[in-house]
Amino acid sequence: MGADELLPRVAQGDQGAFEDLYGLVSGQVYGLVRRVLRDPAQSEEVAQEVLLELWRGAGRFDPERGSALAWILTLAHRRAVDRVRAARAASDREERVARRAQTPAFDHVAEEVEAGLEREWVRRCLDRLTALQRQSVTLAYYDGYTYREVAHRLSVPLGTVKTRMRDGLMRLRECLGGGLA
């Protein structure tokens, strides 16, 4: 059974369905959170928070508005981004920014993350974006920066970043079109 069938059962309080759902999505939830947060302990904490929120709030899932996996990973991404922004606001921002600026965005946790086919496709397609498109997309999505912070870090106007995010994603879609669904 896929996530789309399991999630409505979870909403009915079916613990067995939740167990199956955990098996399906926990790696994806944790991997995504870890990608944004980097720190394993914090990532585990946020991933657990997300998984418990899935249990509690499964009834909020509306199949009309997209797939269960999309809903789950959107939730996970937002929680991770909330956390990384809170942490960033609280800690030594400049030092962190400087440290991250020297590291290519895609290599941080490479050894920890399973190298799937999908991952390869995405990496290859990201490489085919312009540098500005790629940085705009990855700084926002994988590093949790707001588009204003991205513009500041890349020293480009806000309007440019907005459009690079949008056309970067669209170009990614063209490239990925022939890949995995």
């Binding site: 939740f18 929120e53 959107t74 995405v122 669209m170």
Partner: protein
């Protein structure tokens, strides 16, 4: 419609979760009544989903047990319509690992984490003992919610020989009586202390093999051995004691 200026231009940042604060709220209001933006966002979200899936990893070993245990007692939202009260994690008063366990404990106990943390902040000695158990590297959780609405949750550290036990959902004992918590197993039941409402109780000498926790009603001040029938009972597997 110009996609490059004005509110329509924020579909890309929005799909990447790159908006925050007032700007995010303003765009969400716009999105609710702008069909072209809804279409844009829906399409862009399929792209970000690809980015998400490319980051897939392997969840840590212990996470599964903790989450599935918590789910056994964690109530679901009643109304699917209303947005959830968010599970906000405030900066942890203890170590990060403890915050994780505090979350699980809070889930098990059915209380908001913030309440637990306020309590941790307020009641110093008790708080330190609880925090120590939660922060123990070998801490483990178990618990159950019963059909009558009562629940028992345990976070134990075999290394420390201590556990934090919370019993909630019991009616208050009659006047002149107390609820007393017992550890049963091999030998006579051992008192772990008197319960004070649903406050967590620190069991200082929590050792044994498999057994059970039980709550009975006893005369004011407690008894040396249980005299009443158990109100709730939670079977404990030996791994609670690290065996």
């Amino acid at each position: 419609m110009n996609l490059f200026t004005g509110p329509h231009s924020l579909a890309g940042p929005y799909a990447l979760d790159a908006l925050d604060g007032r700007e995010l709220r303003r765009f969400e209001r716009h999105l609710a009544r702008c069909a072209p933006c809804q279409e844009q966002v829906r399409a862009l979200r399929t792209d970000t989903l690809r980015l998400a899936r490319a980051a897939s990893g392997t969840a840590p070993e212990g996470m599964r047990d903790r989450v599935l245990t918590a789910v056994r007692t964690l109530e679901q939202e009643r109304s699917p319509q209303r947005p959830a009260p968010r599970f906000t994690l405030r900066p942890a008063p203890v170590a990060a690992a403890a915050a994780t366990l505090a979350l699980i404990a809070a889930a098990l106990l059915g209380v908001q984490l913030t309440r637990t943390q306020d309590r941790l902040d307020r009641e110093q000695a008790q708080a330190r003992a609880i925090a120590q158990v939660l922060a123990a590297p070998d801490a483990r959780t178990t618990g159950e919610r019963f059909p009558d609405g009562s629940a028992v949750a345990v976070v134990s550290s075999p290394g420390l020989g201590r556990a934090v036990v919370t019993v909630s959902g019991l009616d208050a004992p009659p006047r002149g009586k107390d609820h007393q918590l017992w550890l049963t197993g091999a030998g006579n039941p051992r008192s772990l202390g008197l319960l004070d409402g649903d406050e967590p109780l620190v069991a200082w000498d929590f050792r044994g093999r498999a057994g059970a926790l039980a709550v009975t009603t006893e005369p004011d001040g407690g008894s040396l051995a249980p005299t009443g029938r158990p109100l709730v009972q939670l079977a404990l597997k030996s791994d609670v004691f690290g065996e």
